[in-house]
Amino acid sequence: NMTADQSSSSIAAAFKVFQQELDTKHDKYERLVKISRDITIESKRSIFLLQQDVEEVLKEAAVKLDGVTQKIGLIAEELRGEDIHQFHRAFTPGIQEYVEAISFLHYIRHRSLISLEEINAKLVFMKAEKSSVEVVPADVQVLTFQVTPSDYLLGVADLTGELMRMCISSVANGDIDTPFQLSQFLRQIHDGFSYIGNTGPYEVSKKLHTLRQSLAKVEDACYALHVRGSEIPKHMLADVFSSRTALIDPEESMV
């Protein structure tokens, strides 16, 4: 029985180590889930602001998104020295929503698709080490977070839904340029996803149907604009929309 006790304590000791390891991992996972939820909510709110397409609101959204970026910094901190893929499921919803928001802001400002590099370039964080209480600049550490290509793809897939909403709003506001621009852009994204086809992650395939529907809505909107526009001579067109289009700020005013 002596030996049993001894070996028992050795097994017990080993399992106490396992216990700590598992609990640490689980707690970290749980913290990441919570950060991810926050990121999702704030990103969604930013997107909602962005749909309003008014300069000051855009600024507000940009500020909100900077806050989100800081939250991603918290994820980066949790993952310091970890294998990002071990905890990926915990934060992927938040990151996807962030990609959707940031790429939407980027499109509004630049009328182009933000690249994965550009997103990742935003996710570099300077952290003052806690070791020394005084703020010594030399003690600053750089932390980065890398969005995976899959999360990027999934975020962009969701972006197309927002672009469709933006297109319909533009049509409703009598803005005739944006819909055509958007249809061009959306078609490119659609063709891109067609090109990737089923080689991408499974979730992308699931979103493809919605993407097609969004594209159809945008193409229908352009069609409607064109058909209606066909009824009067071209030179009158500008006149008809002049009062409204003036309200839409030209692109160059923002960067």
């Binding site: 055509f180 090109y195 089923n198 064109h226 058909v227």
Partner: protein
């Protein structure tokens, strides 16, 4: 023969089968890549500027079908020809996509419905099962239905690009196709579901023609063809 010997022997069978499937998966993956490339070429016809380029795009697609033929030739070598239906699921999906693409090219070129024979020729496969690797009739029909949906999109985008006569021609074509399908007694299978989608395409295209008609657009063409 001992149990062990028998099972070793059986493992031989199973391995051979798994190897065939592994090979098929690879070739089919390459075929899918080729199909996606053709699709990318053809999708440009939806662009505003794409309409003039239809002939050149079709030519380009035809070229890419050469590669497809080589790959299908390769596919054929990967399994005994009489076991077509054993491995059917492997290439079923891609063959439907390729049929769609062939049908779309042929429509863009000549505004006719590709026949099963033509698709078979484009893919360098057989129509009749007995003669070799063939195009199953259900896969042919599925491919045609995918095209119908693409044509309804094309009708919309044609108008945006200022081509008012194309939608009317598409409408006639789709109506004929719809009549054809109504001759078939489809069961509650995937094909039936796809066919239900055709009704939506028919309606969509009719609405495009309506929009043109009520605005007197495309009249000159229509008159020419109607009378």
């Amino acid at each position: 023969m001992s149990v062990t010997e028998m099972f070793s022997f059986i493992q031989g069978f199973l391995s051979a089968d798994q190897d065939v499937r592994e090979d098929l998966r690879k070739v089919v993956q390459i075929l899918e890549q080729a199909a996606r490339e053709i699709l990318t070429v053809l999708q440009s016809v939806h662009q505003l500027t794409g309409f003039k380029e239809i002939p050149s795009k079709c030519a380009k697609a035809r070229e890419l079908f050469c590669t497809v033929r080589t790959q299908i030739a390769d596919l054929k070598t990967k399994f005994p020809v009489e076991q077509y239906y054993r491995f059917h699921e492997h290439w079923r999906f891609v063959l439907q996509r390729l049929t769609f693409l062939a049908a779309f090219v042929v429509y863009l070129e000549s505004e006719t419905l590709v026949t099963r024979e033509e698709v078979a020729q484009i893919l360098d496969i057989e129509v009749v099962r007995e003669k070799g690797f063939h195009l199953d009739v259900e896969d042919y029909l599925a491919g045609v239905l995918i095209m119908a949906s693409e044509l309804s999109r094309l009708a919309v985008n044609s108008v945006t690009a200022g081509d008012y006569s194309r939608p009317i021609r598409i409408s006639n074509f789709i109506n004929e196709l719809d009549s054809g399908f109504r001759l078939l007694n489809l069961k509650n299978d995937p094909l039936r579901k796809r066919y239900d989608g055709l009704k939506y395409d028919v309606k969509k295209i009719e609405e495009v023609v309506y929009d043109l008609s009520i605005r007197g657009l495309g009249k000159e063409h229509k008159c020419g063809e109607d009378k």
